[in-house]
Amino acid sequence: MTRIVLVALSLIIFSAGCGTFKKRVAPFEREILAKPGMGFIENAQEETGMQHMFDAREGSIGGFGGAGGGCGCN
């Protein structure tokens, strides 16, 4: 019985670690990510176009941050 409780407790603690603590960078802490050099392509418009093309042709959406850096504004 004790072993079951211990296993249950361990699972809860591990899963709480996944759900409770945020690993994302807060929007107000994205100053460095917002720099143009942080984008894959220097030109923000070109990057938006490229992403649109990938979205449409490959169905691969997301994971690239925002165009022209990763400030994620709005």
């Binding site: 407790l9 759900g19 409770t20 807060a26 720099k35 400030c71 709005n74």
Partner: protein, 162 residues
């Protein structure tokens, strides 16, 4: 053993509650902030008794630049009617905010959130973020980001609590 198990659950639950965002109806956190470009500090409590719009902005945030003219206009229109607009800058360095102000004219009072303590307390989900606070210091409306039509919305909200 059962009580120990329950205690652990309570602790875990309370940790998840701690991470909640500010919502309308809650009191805006009291904060002492440094005035941008000055050595003096000011507490936002000074504006109690007025309708206050607290706007979090940064020099690297494009929508923040777009909202400045609209906030300037609101500030000029409603200052004498008991409305205060306050800009809280969250740049890492105050100097970058000052550079921003060389190119963008801002009429309303600006503060620097050193260490992003207030922004952290408010758990902002976007940049910019604005809080419309009533005369008692209670948050009545929250704006996430800046979109077309927001200035009219701000005005409507301000009028509703004046």
């Amino acid at each position: 053993m059962n009580s120990g198990f329950a205690a652990v659950l309570v602790v875990l639950f309370s940790v998840s509650v701690y991470a909640t965002k500010l919502k309308p109806g809650q009191t805006f956190p009291a904060a002492t902030l440094k005035k941008l470009g000055a050595k003096t500090q000011s507490n936002l409590k000074e504006y109690k008794g007025k309708v206050v719009v607290v706007d979090f902005w940064a020099s690297w945030c494009e929508p923040c630049k777009k909202e400045v003219p609209a906030l300037n206009a609101l500030y000029k229109k409603y200052l004498k009617k008991g409305v205060m607009i306050v800009g809280v800058n969250v740049d890492d360095e105050e100097s970058t905010a000052k550079d921003f102000l060389k190119e963008n004219h801002v009429d309303f009072p600006l503060f620097h959130d050193d260490g992003k303590k207030l922004a952290g307390q408010c758990d902002l989900s976007t940049m910019p973020s604005s809080f419309v606070i009533d005369k008692k210091g209670v948050i009545r409306f929250i704006h996430s980001g800046y979109k077309e039509g927001d200035p009219a919305k701000f005005e409507q909200e301000i009028k509703s609590i004046l």
